[in-house]
């Protein structure tokens, strides 16, 4: 709860700083504050007093570690924003919206009452609608904002109907009572309708396959820095919240529900990868690879009792690889009209360091050893096999091999094609973020134990 209060305070500070003409200090101050909060949250051992804050918030190791991950990602992405918003007068609006979005994300993993969860997901989504349409003179950004808004509110409506059904079956929004109802034998059938509706709403939010059609368009149209937020931060947040919801509402999963999750996971991986093969825009490649990673993340639900650490590890490695890739993508595409693969031609000669960062990020997403992406997939598949879903593991491995093809298209363009453009200097933020994220990927890959026992 202290984290949440501090973050909302930071958001208000960013809004007020504009009045006192502190615009230049906004990003440094908020990044330093977020790093301090990261340290405070991850080392926070204070026992929670029962009945605090009217039981709206619960502080478990799950919520603390995921909150720390979200804070770290936001800090990295805010450093990237520095260059993007350098010449606009609206910097305080954009930064404060991003920080409020973080507060929504933290509410989504530490809720102890469905009202808190609903407010969290809406704060996150509304902030993203604004950001997706934030290039207001560019019709593509408007279109992305509109599509995201329509799909997002549709999903919120379904989610809300599910919450109302849970309330109808139990007469409370309190999470422990809902958990008791979910394991009791004589719960009314409305409860299960509610669980199904909530599942559909959350599958929309994480862009898993039957509900994925909005993702590529929105990612392509939104400004690059916002796409970075959506494909790394928002996806990980939605998945963590989905995981927590399932542990509460459906921890003893029926066989039919397991089959549904299994089929959705297989479809997400396969369709995401196959669609990514024929894309030329790097944003769309990352969008479809995000859909296939959503399939991998959904596998954690099949072994819900023991998978929380794997979810954290996979989320961290996927999100950090995404941040590294987007730092290079923003660097390369800053002065371009589009984000075609051709823009990467000859990057290795123009700027070897950036090419190395991009390669590490893509290799980690593809699952090549030493990098954390490989171990994330290894631990996940180990668990899936021990839970008895051998077919799913085989499909996942085949999909990893397919995904290598389109990741290598970008890498080959950087290393084998000739460059037609001159190098322009862009500032050091991209290097800082890219190097930090790439180093974290390698460190997590070499020492997975550092975060594998946190929850």
């Amino acid at each position: 709860m202290n984290t949440l209060i501090a973050i909302v305070g930071l958001g208000v500070f960013c809004l007020v700083a504009e009045i006192f003409n502190f615009r230049k200090a906004i990003i440094p101050v908020s990044v330093i504050a977020l790093l301090a909060l990261f340290g405070l949250t991850i080392t926070d051992n204070l026992p929670q007093v029962a009945g605090d804050y009217s039981n709206m918030i619960e502080e478990t190791s799950f919520s603390k570690t995921f909150s720390s991950l979200f804070i770290l990602l936001t800090a990295l992405l805010l450093v990237l924003s520095n260059n993007v918003y350098k010449n606009t007068s609206k910097i305080s609006d954009f930064i404060s919206i991003k920080i409020f979005m973080l507060s929504g994300a933290i509410a989504m993993v530490s809720f102890n009452n469905m009202a808190m969860f609903f407010l969290g997901i809406e704060v996150l989504s509304i902030a993203l609608y604004v950001l997706a349409g934030s290039h207001r003179l560019d019709i593509r950004s408007n279109e992305a904002g509109m599509k995201y808004f329509l799909m997002g509110s549709f999903a919120s409506g379904i989610l809300l109907f599910g919450i109302a059904m849970l309330y109808g079956a139990t007469g409370t929004f309190d999470v422990p009572t809902l958990y008791d109802a979910s394991i009791s034998a004589n719960t009314e059938y409305w409860f299960y309708i509610g669980v199904i509706l909530i599942t559909i709403g959350m599958l929309f939010k994480i862009a898993a396959v039957p509900f994925h059609f909005w993702a590529p368009d929105v990612y392509e149209g939104a400004p690059l820095i916002v796409t970075a937020f959506m494909s790394t931060f928002a996806k990980v947040v939605a998945m963590a919240a989905f995981f927590k919801l399932i542990t509460i509402l459906n921890s003893y999963m029926a066989y039919s529900y397991e089959i549904v999750i299994l089929v959705i996971s297989i479809l997400s991986m396969t369709i995401g990868n196959i669609m990514a093969l024929r894309q030329n825009s790097v944003k769309r490649i990352l969008a479809f690879s995000g859909i296939s990673h959503a399939g991998f993340l959904l596998m954690t639900l099949l072994n819900i009792g023991a998978a929380a650490n794997n979810l954290l590890y996979y989320s961290a490695s996927y999100a950090l690889a995404g941040v590294a890739a987007f730092s290079v993508l923003i660097y390369v595409c800053k002065n371009e009209d589009d984000d075609k693969i051709d823009n990467f031609n000859g990057l290795a000669k123009r700027n070897p360091l950036m090419a190395v960062i991009m390669s590490l990020a893509l290799l980690s997403m593809a699952g090549i050893p030493i990098l954390s992406g490989f171990f994330a997939k290894l631990f996940l598949l180990n668990q899936v096999i021990s839970a008895g879903f051998l077919v799913l593991a085989i499909v996942a491995i085949v999909n990893s091999m397919i995904s290598v093809y389109y990741y290598f298209r970008v890498i080959l363009a950087m290393y084998t094609k000739d460059s037609v453009k001159q190098e322009v200097e862009h500032g050091s933020e991209f290097y800082i973020v890219g190097i930090v994220a790439a180093v974290l990927l390698i460190v997590l890959g070499l020492f997975p134990d550092t975060i594998l026992h946190l929850i």
Binding site: E122, N142, M146
Partner: protein, 106 residues
């Protein structure tokens, strides 16, 4: 004296709000005018509000009615953002037909 809820029955309230919810959902799927789509979203959210209030009376528990206030505030914020996006679309292309938004191909 019986309360209204006992006379009508909770089942009918559930059916009514499910119907309203479906009207909203089909409105989003089949109508192409952005304003109508916004109204459909509102119908969906208000169907949920009706359901929450009915359940709240059924369980004699006030938290459902408090939740409705949250939902209303969120719905207002959501539509405000949606209308802002719509205004910038109108400024760019001069109309609000969703079918004109085909610059991003999937």
């Amino acid at each position: 004296m019986q309360s209204i809820l006992e006379q009508v029955g909770i089942g009918n309230y559930i059916i009514l709000s499910a119907l309203l919810f479906c009207i909203g959902a089909f409105g989003i799927l089949y109508r192409r005018n952005a304003i109508i789509m916004f109204m459909s979203i509102e119908i969906m959210l208000n169907a949920v509000n009706l359901l929450l209030v009915a359940f709240s009376t059924y369980h004699q528990d006030a938290s459902g009615q408090v939740f409705v206030f949250f939902t209303m505030a969120v719905a207002a914020a959501e539509v405000a953002v949606g209308l802002a996006i719509l205004v910038s679309i109108y400024r760019n292309i001069g109309n609000i037909d969703i079918d004109n938004l085909k610059n991003l191909k999937g």
